[in-house]
């Protein structure tokens, strides 16, 4: 408590310091850490929370625990975050030498969003990377026996809202330009014909356009920083990767003549992902019965294998926003989330799960966790890659899957 006393001296008259620190490791807390893989304790940064209560304390704990911190009593802490949550959230961060790293108050928004902003300030101050507290995700949620919808929420699953009301199978949502549009595939019926249909959905206006409704599969739409949209279409026979130019006009392009066909393999491709500079496309392919991750220049050239040493049958690659890593899914008594350097090499198995999507910090991954048999038993979870710490996202009702993190 020595640190607390000094802190009190520094901020004389700050009555909120009297508030009791939140109990660490309380049981029954819905925000408790659920560890699936082995957590690397040595990499966790011990931090104490003082003076926060209720929702604000819960948000801070959740945000910080999933970004490499371990909430500890003040005596064991390397950093102490002291503050209060009254009309506004206030917080001061000190290091082990009691030096102040910042002292901020947060205005506007909800208490919840103020708490997220405070956690971002802590992460930026200590890790020197942007926090994820105020980021958004989209995902699909099962809303009926045979219906799914696309939802958007805060990264921690709160404030979830439905973007669609189609009541059909809906898969592979992703973010488009400036996070102001999303793409997804809905199995829409027009004039009695059901067909998977790639839609562009403007989040400002609610307007939707068909991007692809060709014979067979239309899925996996992913936009590169160059504005081109990669998709998996089977209009040419087997599922192949195609590119659509920016603002592609499906209706004005009879036969898909303006689409660029990236692959023409006999078997199938899936899950295209762009390098952040749009110089490469990576996707899962299947050749001669084996599955690989490959990368290819969007404007042609050969396919290069992305070696995932020691890990067979990878799929669902997702390129990190800093360009350094590719997360993917591999089978192994269920499915595991793995990470490999973007140029290939030694791949690491991290936790049980599938369908990874990187956060803008290139450190956290959101993924789908199977909690039982079947598509009804899927939920979303967060993984801190350096520490292998996992947190389940609390979501009300319905199985959730196919998460995509806004970058």
């Amino acid at each position: 408590m020595k640190q607390l006393a000094i802190l009190a001296g520094c901020l004389a008259g700050a009555a909120w310091l009297a508030a009791a620190p939140p109990a660490a490791g309380a049981t029954g807390d819905p925000n408790r850490v659920t560890v699936i893989g082995a957590v690397d304790e040595s990499k966790l940064v011990p931090l104490a929370l003082q003076g926060f209560s209720g929702e604000v304390a819960a948000v801070l704990r959740f945000d910080l625990e999933v970004q490499g911190f371990k909430i500890v009593p003040p005596d064991n802490a390397k950093y102490i975050l002291s503050g209060k949550n009254g009309a506004t959230v206030e917080g001061a961060l000190q290091d082990a030498n009691q030096a102040f790293l910042f002292n901020k108050s947060f205005n506007g928004g909800s208490q919840r969003s103020q708490a997220h902003a405070l956690s971002d300030a802590v992460v930026e101050s200590i890790h020197r990377i942007p926090g994820i507290g105020q980021t958004k995700i989209i995902f699909t949620k099962k809303t009926g026996a045979r219906s799914w919808e696309v939802f958007q929420s805060d990264f921690d699953g709160h404030n979830a809202v439905a973007l669609t009301n189609d009541k059909v199978l809906c898969v592979t949502p992703s973010w488009g330009k400036g996070n102001r549009e999303v793409f997804y595939t809905s199995y829409l019926t027009f004039a009695g014909i059901i067909n998977p249909t790639v839609l562009r959905h403007n989040l400002d206006t609610g307007k939707r356009d068909i991007v692809a409704r060709y014979r067979g599969l239309n899925t996996g739409a992913t936009m590169g920083s160059n504005g081109w949209l990669a998709m998996v279409l089977s209009k040419g026979g087997s599922p192949d990767v195609y590119l659509a130019p920016p603002q592609y006009d499906f209706k004005g392009d009879q036969g898909g003549g303006k689409l660029v066909r990236v692959t023409a393999t006999e078997e199938g491709e899936s899950s295209p992902t762009w390098s952040p500079d749009s110089q490469w496309l990576c996707f899962a392919t299947r050749t001669n019965g084996r599955r690989w991750l490959v990368k290819k220049r969007p404007n042609g050239g050969p396919m290069f294998r992305v070696d995932t040493k020691g890990i067979h049958n990878p799929s669902e690659p997702d390129w990190s926003p800093d360009g350094k890593w590719i997360a993917f899914t591999a089978p192994g008594g269920g499915f595991n989330i793995c990470v490999v350097p973007a140029n290939g090499g030694e791949a690491r198995i991290l936790v049980a799960g599938e369908n990874p999507s990187w956060a803008p910090n290139s450190r956290t991954i959101i993924f789908t966790l199977r909690t039982g048999a079947g598509v009804n038993k899927r939920r979303l979870a967060l993984l801190d890659v350096p520490t292998k710490r996992v947190k389940l996202i609390p979501l009300e009702g319905g199985a959730a899957t196919s998460p995509a993190w806004a970058n």
């Binding site: 009926g144 026996a145 045979r146 219906s147 809202v161 439905a162 669609t164 009301n165 189609d166 009541k167 059909v168 199978l169 898969v171 592979t172 199995y187 829409l188 019926t189 027009f190 004039a191 009695g192 014909i193 067909n195 998977p196 249909t197 839609l199 403007n202 206006t205 609610g206 939707r208 356009d209 409704r213 060709y214 014979r215 067979g216 599969l217 899925t219 996996g220 998996v232 089977s234 026979g237 087997s238 599922p239 209706k251 009879q254 036969g255 898909g256 078997e267 199938g268 899936s270 899962a284 799929s315 669902e316 899914t329 599938e354 369908n355 789908t368 048999a373 079947g374 598509v375 899957t401």
Partner: protein
């Protein structure tokens, strides 16, 4: 569409057979009447897809933005209104279906008639089994006998693949079945393939029996909606 919704199968089967047997050469696809149940099915069962029937009258454009939440059907809105059935080759009744090949007029789904012919696949394989060739042959004969009928082949997977991989695998399975039908001379234009990945399992347990049952190709028939039955010409009866 995907089960859960009841169609007047028995009635249409009878009428379909009558049409096919009695006047199949004179029945012009595309001139059939729109039956009441074609619109009614949007409210039945599990709700189905909210967009069914959007193209029946051609006036399917013009639904404004703001399809987030709420109870409105979300209808894709790039039509600028009234793109209608303006004739031409667009006999699917909706130019959003332009790339899908022809399916003239109004069709009704029949999931039952070929339900017993579902074919099954080995784990992570899209190869049609030799033992399923007899089923393929039966489906081909049925389609030959019913030249106005269209076929949808659904590809399904067990849950041991990742979700996105399974979407591709299901498509390859459906395509493989389509190719198996090709030697029988069924026009590819009459066949639509669709992959549902692992999302619609038959059985939900995590054992090999369930997985095997779920790795399948299903045949769904779409038959022309029969013309409304007109009463016979009025007969004058003189009562003594």
């Amino acid at each position: 569409m995907l089960g859960g919704r009841l169609y007047p199968v028995a009635l249409t089967a009878l009428l379909g057979l009558a049409l096919a047997a009695g006047c199949k050469s004179t029945q012009e696809p595309g001139l059939t009447h729109i039956p009441e149940n074609n619109n009614g099915d949007t409210s039945g069962g599990d709700g189905g897809d909210g967009n069914t029937g959007g193209g029946n009258n051609g006036g399917n454009g013009g639904v404004g933005p703001g399809n987030t939440g709420g109870g409105n059907d979300t209808v894709v809105t790039n039509n600028d209104g009234g793109n209608g059935n303006n004739g031409g080759d667009d006999n699917t009744g909706d130019d959003r279906n332009r790339e899908l090949g022809p399916r003239p007029g109004d069709y009704m789904e029949d999931r039952e008639i070929l339900a017993a012919q579902s074919v099954h696949f080995d784990y992570d394989s899209a190869a049609v089994r030799p033992t399923d060739q007899s089923k393929i042959g039966l489906v081909a004969r049925y389609l030959s006998a019913q030249p106005t009928f269209h076929l949808v082949i659904e590809g399904h997977c067990d849950e041991r693949g990742t979700e996105q991989y399974n979407l591709s695998l299901g498509q390859r399975r459906a395509e493989a079945v389509r190719e198996a039908l090709a030697p029988f001379g069924i026009s590819p234009e009459r066949i639509q393939t669709i992959s549902y990945g692992e999302n619609f399992p038959v059985l939900k347990s995590t054992d090999e029996v369930s997985y095997q049952e779920n790795r399948r190709g299903e045949f769904v028939i779409w038959r022309p909606v029969p013309a409304a039955i007109q009463p016979p010409a009025g007969q004058s009866v003189i009562v003594p």
